[in-house]
Each structure stands twice: as C-alpha cells, then as structure tokens.
Amino acid sequence: MRALGPVIAVLVALVLVASSVLFTVDQRQNAIVFQFGEVKEVITKPGLNFKWPMIQNVRLFDMRILAYDDAEPLRFLTQGNRPVLVDSFIRWRIVDVKLYFVSVQGSEAEATRRLRQTISGALRDEFGGRTVHDVVSGERDTVMERVRQKADQDLRRVGVEIVDVRLKRVDLPQEVSESVYRRMEAERKRIANELRSTGAAESERIRADADRQREVILAEAYRDAQRVKGDGDARAAATYAQAFSRDAEFYAFYRSMEAYRSTFSGRSDLLLLEPNSDFFRYLKDPGGKAGGKK
C-alpha cells in the first residue's frame, strides 16, 4: 500500500511532462513547430506529436474552408458609369501553412485584408467593362470565375487558395433604385393600359361579331321566309288560275261581288250613291226601266 504514494507522484510527473512535450494536431488543423522562433517543422497530418519543451513551441492553423464576407457592399462603376453596390463572399483556405505564416504572420485579419484588396481590385476590373445586365445575369458566372482565378493566382503567393468567389448582392444604389422604381411603375402602367384597351377591343369585337351574327341570322331567316311565302303565293296563284280560268268573265263578276262585300263592311263606310244604278232600277220605276236605260 505504501508503494502507491510514489505511483501517484510518478503519474503526476508524467502528466506534467507529457503536457509540455506532446501536442495533438486536430483533423481540422495543421501545425508549425517553431524552435526559437524559427520554423522547424510543418505538421499536416492529424495526431499526437512531439516537441521539445521550452525551446520549441507550436502554432496551430485552421485548415478548413474559411469565409470572408464584406460587411459593407462595395461600390463599382459599370459600363456607362452606372454604379452598382456589390456584396460578395469569398471562400478560401490555407494550403501552405509555412508560406502563409511567413507572408501574413499567420494573422487571419492580415490575410483577409489582402484578400479584400485583391478581390475588390479584380471585381472593379471586371465590372468596369460590363453593363449592369451582364453582371446581374448574363455574365455573372464568368465574372465570378475570373475574379476567383485572379485572386487565386495572387493569393497562392501567401499560401492561400481561393475556393470560390460568389457575388451575393448586386444592387443598385438608392438613388438609382428610385429611378428603377419609376420605370417599373411606368412599365406596369403601360401593361395595365394595354390590358384594358385590348380588353375593350376584345369586348367590342365580340359584340360586333354578335351583331353581325344577328343580322345574318335575321336576314337569312327573312330570305327563307320570303321563299316559303313566295312558294305559297305561287301555289295559291296556280290554284286560282287553274280554277278561275274555266270562266274568266264569271270570275271577274264573282270576285268583284266578293270584293264589294268585304270592302264596304262597316258603318264608317259612307256611300254616296246615285239612284240610277242597276240595283236601284226598281227604286223609281217598278218596271225596272230606269236602271236599264241608264
């Protein structure tokens, strides 16, 4: 039992020593071992590593893809001096830890400062030769890829790889936005007027078509009706002619009688007569001579 005391002491001592001699490099990190401030070794594999205590120290670097996002959008001029506000974000990572440390003293702030300068310069170049429409839609990919290549080329020298450059916002500045709004309004007004007037035209067309159809329908019906009537009249005439031609003279007499009867039918018809007609021949003369003489 007494032997345990030393065991503890040994353990504690081991832990103390181990903590100053051993260090772990995470999956996500690379490490540089410095000896009196000089880069002695670069560790790129994760795991347990050894260093000399006191004379060596270790610095760890995050090797994941890092993001740089502009806090404030940058203002660029496009072709025709139209300004745009651009907000981009950059994905970058350290590929060469030693170079990175030597060039920017391993300071992420310093690295992003360089990054920002390079990117904004490249963006300015790309935007200057393009119209707003190009950078917003047509050549967005090209712009992003070219800026990435340029920046990548530049930043390789500090051990940084530019994984991706993305244009996030490409917006018009406030004063330009207002004029865009005015234009959008005018455009909508045009559309609205067009819709209304085509609606009216369409309506008129439908009405006119309906009117035409009505006329046609009525006219055709009238034509057909007249045909039918004419047919009836013709048949009637044929019937009359056939019957009446048997004795035309009698027909004239008979028909006249008929006509008299139907013509003078009411009290309102006033006949002014001379008593010398055939009908009145017996009126003045029972012999019937008066009318007969005439």
Partner: protein, 397 residues
C-alpha cells in the same frame, strides 16, 4: 501543479471515511513529503516541517483509493450519449477514428480521444429575407435585381439536413453560415437570370428548383455534407414603392377579362334572340304559306262549285248574286242617295260631320243591323218624286 487540483478537490470530498475530515494543509504537506520520498529530497518544499506523519500507512491506503477513484472518474468521463437523431464522431489525438451510432457510448477519455455530436435527422431551416415571420422582412436580403433590371422583394426558406457528419465537421468553419450565404447567393443568381413576371406570377416553383440545384452544387463543392431537402419561395412581390402600380396591372388583367365576359354576355343575349326571331320568321312564313295555299284551294273550290251551278243558269244566278251582294253591302254601310244630275253643283254635304255621326252611331252594331233594313225600307217604297229629294240629304244610320 494544476493537475493536482482535481486530486485535492476529490480527495476532500471522497474517501474521507478513513481519516476523518481532511485538512487541506495537512494533505498538502503529506503530498510534498511523498514527493520528497520519491525524488530524494530534491524538492523540499517550504512548510515541510513536520516529521513523517504517524498516519502514513493510513494515508497510503487512502491514496490508493484516491488514485483508483480518480482513475475511475477519468475513465468515466469517456462516456457520452448519442441521441437517436444524431451520430457521434470520435477523434483520437485529433484524428478521425470512428463514427458512432445512437446510444450510450464510451471513448478513451481526454486527452486521448474526443467526440463531437452531429444531429443528422433534424431538418434545419434557413430563412432568407425575413426572420420568423414573412412579415418581418429584412430588405437588405430580400430586394433582388432581376434579369430585366426590375427589383423584386422575395422571401424564401431553405430546409436541409446534414447527411455527412465528417464533412459537416471537418471541411468548413461555421457551416451554417456557409449554407446561409450560399442560399442567398444562389437565389440571387437565379433571380438575376429570370424575368420579373415569371418570378411574380407563374415561375416560382421553377425558380425554387433551379436555386436548389445551384445551391446543392455549390455546397457539394465546399464539401459541407449538407443535403437540401426543399427550397420554398415564401413570398415574391414587387417592392412597396411600386406595389400599387403592380396591383393596378393585375386589376387591369381582370378588367380585361371582365370586359371580354361582358362582350360575351352581350353576344349570348343577342344571338339566341336573333335565332328566336329567325325561327319566328320561318314559322310565320310557313304559316302564311299554309294559309295562302289553303285559302286558294278553298276559294278555288268554292268558285268551281258556284261555277258548276252558274253554268246551269247563268243569267239568273248572276242577277241573284249581284243583288244579294249589293244588299249586304248597302245594308251594312252608311249611305247617302243623291240625284247628282238634278242637284247640280249646289249640293252641300258636310262629310266630316256625317262621318262623325256615322262613327258615333256605329257603336251599337246589333241595333244598326236591325234597323238597317227598316231604315232602308221606307226609302224603297217611297213614291217620292225626284224633286222631293232635291236638296235633301238623308243619312241612313
């Protein structure tokens, strides 16, 4: 020294049963003495004035228990729980060694192994252009420029799950932010290639799909381990400044439909009516024809019948018809019998007055037809001379 601290803490809490409540000073001194034993007095600490404690043996036993306990606690610190929705990732000296399933798990304790837990089942949501509620807009995120250089106000949500825990942990710093920025950039890229009208009205699903494809592509290129499940456009509308104009345009579209419908309504009113009128004309014509033909046939037939009788006795029949006709004519009309030859041109006939009278009198037709023969009779037998009639007017009612 720092490593000693847990020992102190635990020592004071734990196995005090052997020796009563431990005194910190005393323990410290004991410890130093033991170190001295070990290193041959090299580290003779200050305050180590007491001789070896008489309780050394007891202390040795206590230390054994202490060591065992510390060891046990240290080992126990390797336990961790992975809940059902998650996976654990174990790192050995910082190097990935395994992925563990849900349950109570054990790894080698710090500093040998460490673990991270990633929730793989939770559907994570990104809200772009708004927070919590579509009405609380973030205009900086939501206003976007379209292909036709209009500005649209768009809110969308992205849902994703983490499908690759290692990628999620190891390739990107703050992957949630990466996802957010990627979502925004992709949507803006797609909107930048779309026309205002298709964004606002019909093309929203299509845009969401395109954005999802692009987002997934970018996220894959970063090896984020993210799998997008859905991109939904929550709301797309013109900016407030021009909302009224857009609403009016939509209204205009409806006006147009309304006008068309009104025109159609008119057509639907007019054409069937015209058809009806046409049908009436046709029917009337048919009716007319039938009537005319029937009349003709009837009259022809009557004429033939009369003619048949007439031809048997023409003179008398003719006379009879003539007289009958004139009788019926004269009996039903008003008449004035004037001997014009005698009266010359001095005859005064107030015709309009006569007409009035006859019109007024005509209202009792039955009476008229009754009286007509009576009225006619006195004239017939009246053996009056022509002179008596001269200048007189007779009005037969």
């Amino acid at each position: 020294m720092s490593l000693n601290d847990p020992n102190w803490g635990r020592g004071s809490r734990g196995p005090g049963g052997n020796q009563g409540p431990p005194d910190l000073d005393e323990l410290w001194r004991n410890f130093n003495r033991k170190l001295n034993d070990l290193f041959g007095g090299r580290r003779g600490g200050g305050g180590d004035v007491r001789p070896p404690a008489p309780s050394g043996r007891a202390l040795g036993g206590g230390a054994g228990v202490l060591v065992a306990l510390v060891l046990a606690i240290w080992l126990a610190s390797g336990f961790y729980v992975v809940d059902a929705a998650s996976r654990g990732v174990v790192l050995t000296f910082g190097r990935y060694s395994e992925q563990t399933d849900p349950g109570l798990r054990w790894r080698m304790p710090f500093p040998i192994q460490s673990h991270e837990i990633v929730n793989m089942a939770q559907v994570r949501t990104l809200e772009v252009g708004y927070r919590n509620n579509v009405k609380t807009k973030v205009l900086k995120e939501s206003l976007m420029l379209t292909d036709d250089e209009n500005i649209v106000d768009l809110q969308f949500a992205v849902q994703y799950v983490v499908t690759d825990a290692q990628a999620w942990l190891f390739h990107n710093r703050r992957p949630e932010e990466v996802a957010m920025q990627t979502a925004e950039a992709s949507m803006r890229e797609i909107i930048g290639k779309s026309k205002m009208d298709s964004i606002l009205y019909e093309g929203q699903d299509n845009i969401a799909n395109q954005a999802q494809v692009l987002m997934q592509k970018i996220l894959d290129s970063y090896k984020t381990g993210i799998d997008l499940s859905r991109v939904t456009i929550q709301n797309a509308q013109p900016p407030e400044q021009v909302q009224a104009a857009f609403d009016d345009a939509v209204k205009a579209g409806q006006d147009r439909e309304r006008q068309k419908n009104e025109g159609q309504a008119y057509a639907n009113d007019v054409i069937p009516r015209a058809r009806g009128a046409a049908a009436r004309l046709t029917q009337e014509a048919e009716g007319y024809k039938a009537r005319v033909v029937a009349n003709a046939e009837g009259e022809a037939s009557r004429f033939r019948q009369v003619l048949a009788e007439y031809s048997k006795a023409p003179a008398i029949t003719r006379e009879r018809i003539y007289i009958e006709t004139l009788q019926s004519v004269l009996s039903s009309t008003s008449k004035i019998l004037v001997d014009t030859r005698a009266s010359g041109n001095l005859l005064y006939l107030p015709l309009d007055k006569l007409m009035q009278q006859s019109g007024a009198g005509g209202l009792t037709e039955s009476q008229a037809s009754q009286r007509a023969p009576d009225a006619a009779l006195p004239t017939d037998p009246g053996p009056r001379s022509r002179d008596s009639l001269r200048g007189r007017e007779r009005v037969e009612r």
